[in-house]
């Protein structure tokens, strides 16, 4: 940004700031929030339903993960991996491959939270369009994970060329059919070694565990190794399980602060491949 442009922006910001009201004295803060008709008392437990209503997009910025083979650059055909099913070529949409079938007894793992294959992708496309309009970029492919009774879930991959940032980025957004929000603010650099990160529905709303590992009160997503057959989620002693699709397990949760939870990835023989355990907390005061 040229200096003159910076000065213009600074001037605009200065005038916007000048419109700020006088700060309320500390002892009067309470009165600001009890005006007639004021419904906001922003304790976390009141905000949580809002998160659920707005938790519609999860994204992870894939850095250093290498190019993903998603289309045939010679023919433009959509690349369809083993186990995937082509739903649409334009835009490119596939039903993701289901994980290997478990060869062990899952009856002790609680209720199954199945990701049911879907063919109607209109709601996902609508949300994906919102994402793409927020981040001008090129839709590469949508991998539909499946459907739960209330949600349609998909991974949207799009390319973004950002010369200011220094080049080409590829974004993968776990996207749900609910609401109309975008991936705004959900990118972060350090997810740890993929697979195996917790992806946020909204990094600002959800608790932060460590760099690159965040969790939403609404959506808990875990990317797992290809050989993963079953993922279990245990919250406060209650377990559910799921066969991941496209190496992603997604649980719609009602985690609240203080809840103990654990994720375990099993291979088809029931051997543990990976696990993650923590106590949900709401904010990290030191960011």
């Amino acid at each position: 940004m040229r200096t003159t442009e910076k000065e213009i922006v600074r001037g605009v910001l200065g005038r916007m700031g000048d419109e700020a009201p006088e700060p309320v004295p500390f002892e009067d803060l309470h009165t600001v929030l009890v005006q007639p008709g004021d419904t906001q008392r922003n304790t976390w437990w009141m905000r949580r339903p809002v998160w659920i209503a707005t938790a519609v997009a999860v994204a992870v910025l894939v850095l250093g993960a290498g190019p993903m083979l998603l289309t045939n650059t010679q023919t433009g055909d959509v690349y369809v991996a083993d186990g995937e099913r082509l739903i649409s070529s334009d835009p490119p949409v596939v039903q993701g491959a289901e994980s290997p079938e478990p060869a062990f007894d899952t009856s002790g793992l609680g209720d199954e939270v199945a990701l049911t294959p879907v063919t109607d992708t209109s709601r996902i496309l609508e949300t994906a369009t919102g994402i793409l309009s927020d981040y001008p970029s090129e839709l590469v492919r949508i991998t539909v994970l499946g459907e739960t009774p209330e949600w349609v879930l998909a991974v949207v991959v799009h390319n973004e060329v950002d010369p200011d940032f220094g080049g080409h980025m590829q974004l993968r957004c776990l996207t749900t059919s609910r609401g109309g929000a975008t991936c705004e603010g959900v990118e972060f650099e350090n997810l740890g070694d993929m697979p195996g990160g917790l992806l946020p529905a909204d990094p600002d709303s959800g608790p932060v565990y460590s760099v690159g590992e965040r969790i939403s009160s609404a959506i808990l997503t875990w990317e797992v190794p290809a050989e993963t057959s079953v993922v279990t989620l245990t919250v406060n002693g209650q377990t559910r399980w799921q066969r991941p699709v496209a190496q992603v397990a997604v649980f719609i949760t009602d985690l609240t602060s203080g809840d103990r939870f654990e994720l375990i990835a099993y291979d088809s023989q029931g051997s543990i491949l990976n696990s993650f355990r923590d106590v949900a907390s709401l904010i990290d005061p030191n960011g």
Binding site: M1, R2, T4, E5, K6, I8, V9, R10, G11, V12, L13, R15, M16, G17, E19, A20, P21, E22, P23, V24, F26, E27, L29, H30, V32, L33, V34, D38, T39, Q40, R41, N42, T43, W44, V50, T54, L61, D134, Y135, P136, D162, D164, F165, E184, G185, E187, F188, E189, N190, P203, D204, S205, V208, V211, L282, I283, D284, P285, N286, G287
Partner: protein, 164 residues
């Protein structure tokens, strides 16, 4: 504990001094993020939130309060009723404001940025903070700051080019 009770307890605490030191900066920041009509509420709500969770372990009070205000502003923006109300207020105040604004298109473009992008732009260009310090104020990584900045610049550049 009610808000009022929490405030009464906190009046003897360090937070009173911290608030006194930074309240003007916080309200100004909030005003850029959500507009002057809602800035006071956002800051008040943010401070009460701090009271909820405690502030004993905070190392950088200014950065932390900016972070909480930014988060509060984002949540504020999400409220549907509040959004409608804000848009009504915005349309009313905009009509008045644009007479005096020498760069109304740039102002509009800034207002159209996401809250996060606006926060990054404000802390970078108004507060003159470096990427890492902006990151500390928003609770995100420096890389995210650079990306938000790049995206915000991209959105502003088109308007700025028309003004130059």
């Amino acid at each position: 504990m009610t808000d009022l009770e929490a405030l009464q307890v906190a009046e003897s605490s360090e937070l009173v001094d911290v608030y006194g030191a930074f309240s003007s900066d916080l309200v100004r920041f909030a005003s850029v993020l959500v507009g002057p009509d809602d800035a006071g509420d956002v800051v008040s709500s943010a401070i009460l939130r701090v009271l909820d969770v405690g502030n004993e372990s905070i190392r950088n009070h200014r950065a932390y309060l900016f972070q909480v205000v930014a988060n509060e502003a984002r949540n504020w923006k999400r409220g549907e009723a509040r959004r409608r109300d804000r848009e009504d207020k915005s349309s009313r105040s905009s009509n008045t404001f644009y007479h005096a604004e020498p760069y109304p298109e740039v102002r509009k473009a800034v207002e159209d940025l996401s809250v996060r992008q606006r926060a990054v732009i404000y802390l970078t260009y108004w507060e003159d903070l470096k990427d890492q310090t902006v990151a500390d104020h928003l609770g995100i990584s420096a890389g995210s700051v650079r990306r938000h900045l790049a995206r915000a610049r991209k959105k502003l550049r088109g308007v700025l080019d028309e003004n130059n």
